[in-house]
Subunit: 277 residues, 2 copies
């Protein structure tokens, strides 16, 4: 017998109640590094001792399993529900990618079916007690990310990822208005692919232009979380599934992710204090 | 009185009947340069003397108006229907971007409403006699691009745009299977952001890795249309709306687009001949 809607809602409320902080990661357009930011912020939170969950809601292009090198893992069914994939003792991951039988198959599901799957990600999985749940939303500002966001009320806010060029910024402005409609705060903007340092001559080239994310954050008076350089090592690490954050602690890119994570935590804790007052 | 469904279908059939070739441009994930390829292939076809239409079906992130520098233009209503925006005597463009009152607003439309808009792009607009209609589909392999593709039967096929790295290729393989479900041929794969030449030391760096698109085309035995380098001039031209194809005919990037367009035309004409036999 299928559980009734009300039972599912109760399970969702119960499971979300055990999670202290919920963060959405979104972008107005795809390909700006939303999943790379989600994964590396999650890893950085784990390094800071937090219990973290990472929910990859990108139904059509789930890349979290590849980025984290867990493509062949599957969530396990137990007596008490389904266990997300355990990347390390403090990092649980769920992704649509785990449910695709054939990696090369596109998911052509109509809206309602997708929402049922995402609802189950929350209701039927044992996330347990988490400090942070990172929700990697589908790209864009359409009804799909909005519906998913509406499943998770009382979130701490949204991190918006962009690249510095105008065409991307056009959609970041849409994202800011979109987050307002989600009734959640903007935690801040991350500017990805920001400057490239030539490995041969060591000079920096702003391939995707410069400072666009910073400028937009000033225009809209929202926090700027930091810049991540365009780094072939991120591409390589995302492809090989070797955790980038554990690779080389002296790299500018790793430091950039650490600083961004620190600012996210700070901004959220600041909001916590405001609520206590 | 609203026109009946059957009237709309008749108008669509009539309008599509005046268009010799219809090409879909798609990508498994966003941010790989799908709209840049659509716009520059359209411009390159115009330079070859063809009458071209460009239909930007990316509802949530329409970037064609910005890329072509026609953000402030609007389609004009006439006695005989609505005129798409005329970029040059041989290039007509329609985009959801023209319909957004505020550039910063996200479009949060549920599925059926989106399809109504796209249907009108075909039924109510005077595309006239065209040699080529380029249809820039929304990114991904979800129900949205599929529904749009189903509105335009008897297309010549689909051009799949990707970047060279594995994470993008994961979704290109999904795209190939997706195109099969669209019941249209794959015209070929374009590998974008393929190699970067440092303007300071002139050395080439494969930031997003190398040859992934070429390799996939061999794996699946489908045509490879060519590589486009990662070129800050494309970023700049896409941002400023100055047509890249008219800028510098000696540039490697312009030559790459010209060669790709030539191969697209050749592949389509080859299929035409097959049908005549």
């Amino acid at each position: 017998m299928q559980p009734k809607n009300i039972e599912i809602e109760q399970k969702i409320t119960k499971n979300l109640g055990k999670i202290k902080h919920k963060i959405f990661v979104l972008s107005g357009k795809g390909g700006v590094g939303k999943s790379t930011v989600s994964a590396n912020v999650a890893l950085s939170l784990v390094q800071n001792g937090y219990n973290v969950g990472l929910m990859d809601c990108d139904i059509h292009g789930p890349s979290i399993p590849k980025i984290l090198g867990i493509e062949d893992k599957r969530p396990m069914s137990t007596e008490n529900g389904i266990e997300p994939v355990l990347v390390s003792p403090k990092l649980k991951v769920m992704s649509m990618g785990f449910l695709l039988q054939d990696r090369d198959s596109p998911v052509i599901w109509r809206g309602p079916l997708k929402m049922t799957a995402i609802k189950q990600f929350i209701s039927d999985f044992n996330w347990g007690d988490l400090d942070y749940l990172i929700v990697d939303l589908p790209p864009g500002t359409g009804d799909e990310p909005l519906s998913i966001a509406q499943l998770i009320p009382n979130s701490d806010g949204a991190v918006i990822v962009t690249t510095p060029q105008d065409v991307a910024l056009l959609s970041v402005r849409k994202s800011i208005n979109f987050v307002k409609q989600m009734n959640t705060p903007v935690i801040g903007i991350v500017e990805n692919m920001s400057g490239f340092t030539c490995p041969h001559c060591n000079k920096t080239i702003d391939i995707f232009k410069k400072d666009g994310g910073l400028k937009t954050s000033k225009d809209f008076n929202i926090p700027f979380l930091g810049k991540i350089p365009l780094d072939p090592k991120i591409v390589e690490s995302g492809d090989s599934g070797v955790s980038f954050m554990n690779e080389d602690s002296t790299s500018d890119t790793v430091k950039a992710f650490e600083a961004i994570t620190e600012r996210i935590v700070k901004n959220i804790e600041k909001n916590d204090k405001k609520e206590v007052k």
